[in-house]
């Protein structure tokens, strides 16, 4: 029966820090012996293994008993936890955005075969999962280090000297969720016209000039550009769908915000492909020479540089729009909710 107490005390002890272990073990043992003796007197029977087991059970599981002697320990404590959660959310949203763009670039570069597209999607999913876990791990690590190493930072937050007047003002932001009907109708009409022209009469878009009594044209877009056409069609179809949903709902909702992220991400991937791929402009030095344009080499260089700059600007704008949409999804919504709750 002593054996049971020895085993119990040892099991509690191994969960305790070394410096206090022997002392707490001694105290627990002494208490258990008192309890056993007391039980033996009250039950009028000698101490045996059953009684010892009963008393130990009453005293509690070794893990629970050991825990009661330890201070509460956190990897990330309650003071840091809200900040931790915020950083995790932001990091994961950014990672998701980047993964989405990478996936779309991958699909565009994979070419039209279904097999390679699926392969590229699966690959993106796997690598995004890995990236998300690694981001989470790193954020946890950083916060755990802050929790462990910088207790003073946490103390500051509960400082008695805070001034209520330093509380942030409640600002009612303009309603960014409202949709302009005219804008959406304009988008739809413009997209339909350009889509029809590009798909049905691509040869119309060019520099037209009269020669020997006939109208001749130099196509503006190259063959390379026409290969992007299926993807451009997908992008525009998505844009029109978005415009139609917005017209119907009258307001931006989380669903349409996400759709606009997809649209921008597809646009971003296409812009990237156009920037890094062969020139989308079909105007050549020979074409310009035939037209009698002075300094045709320089002109072609200027046109291509202009297109590249345009594509870069468009890339930056779309990336910025994705970030802004994510921001609206994750922060503006919360502010509004808080305001509604207060109101």
């Amino acid at each position: 029966m002593m054996n049971l107490i020895d085993r119990y005390v040892a099991d509690v002890g191994r969960r305790l820090p070394e410096q206090s272990r022997a002392d707490i073990e001694k105290e627990i043992r002494s208490t258990l012996e008192d309890m056993l003796e007391d039980r033996s007197v009250s039950d009028e029977r000698p101490i045996d293994e059953n009684m010892t087991a009963e008393v130990l059970k009453e005293f509690g599981h070794p893990a629970k008993v050991a825990a009661s002697y330890l201070p509460e320990r956190y990897l990330i404590g309650p003071q840091l936890y809200p900040h931790f959660l915020k950083v995790v959310k932001i990091s994961l949203v950014v990672a998701l955005g980047v993964a989405l763009i990478r996936m779309i670039v991958g699909i565009v570069q994979a070419g039209p075969e279904v097999g390679t597209i699926i392969e590229s999607i699966v690959e993106s999913f796997l690598s995004s999962g890995g990236i998300a876990i690694s981001i989470l791990g790193n954020v946890v690590l950083v916060f755990a280090v802050i929790e462990w190493a910088l207790p003073n930072i946490k103390e500051e937050e509960k400082s008695e000297e805070w001034d209520p007047r330093s509380l942030p003002e409640i600002t009612i932001t303009p309603d960014t969720d409202k949709v302009s009907t005219a804008d959406q109708i304009g988008t739809i009409i413009f997209t339909v016209i350009v889509m029809l022209v590009l798909n049905l009469y691509p040869q119309v878009i060019g520099i037209w000039f009269p020669r020997d009594g006939e109208w001749m044209s130099i196509p503006v877009f190259s063959e390379a550009f026409l290969r992007y056409l299926p993807w451009i069609n997908i992008l525009w179809t998505l844009e029109m769908t978005q415009a139609l949903i917005l017209l119907r709902e009258g307001r931006w909702q989380p669903g349409t915000r996400w759709l606009s992220i997809v649209v921008d991400a597809v646009g971003l991937a296409l812009t990237y492909a156009m920037l890094t791929g062969p020139s989308i402009i079909g105007i050549t030095t020979a074409n310009l020479q035939a037209l009698g344009v002075p300094n045709p080499t320089m002109m072609v260089g200027l046109i291509n540089a202009g297109v590249s700059i345009g594509l870069i600007v468009s890339f930056i704008v779309q990336a910025f729009e994705i970030i802004m949409t994510l921001y609206r999804l994750y922060f503006k919504g919360k502010k509004l909710e808080t305001l509604l709750m207060l109101g």
């Binding site: 707490i24 001694k26 105290e27 627990i28 002494s30 208490t31 012996e33 008192d34 309890m35 007391d38 005293f59 509690g60 629970k64 008993v65 009661s68 002697y69």
Partner: protein, 112 residues
Amino acid sequence: MTNDMLENTVLELRRGVIVLAVLSQLGKEQYGYSLLKLLSEQGLEIDQGTLYPLLRRLEAQGLLQSVWKLEEARPRRYYVISPEGTQLLTRLKEEWNGIVVMMGAMLERSQS
């Protein structure tokens, strides 16, 4: 209202008086188990997992003093209130009396 809810609320109420109760009983030295029984005899049941670690904490804060004694071939750790603990006990008693008067009046007013 469930029984659990009642039990938890009562537990919460009693938790607040444990330190006062423990300090009040340690004018005379007691070992852990004898203190547990002493409190229990007077109607305050405290979980062992709460009392023993609490005694160590109060000692670490300087409110109690302890000494190991060998009795009946068994070592026992005896706790007794320290001078600092006695000062705190005086203040806590005043607070407690204030709370009893204040809550009594509050509950009476709410009934009428």
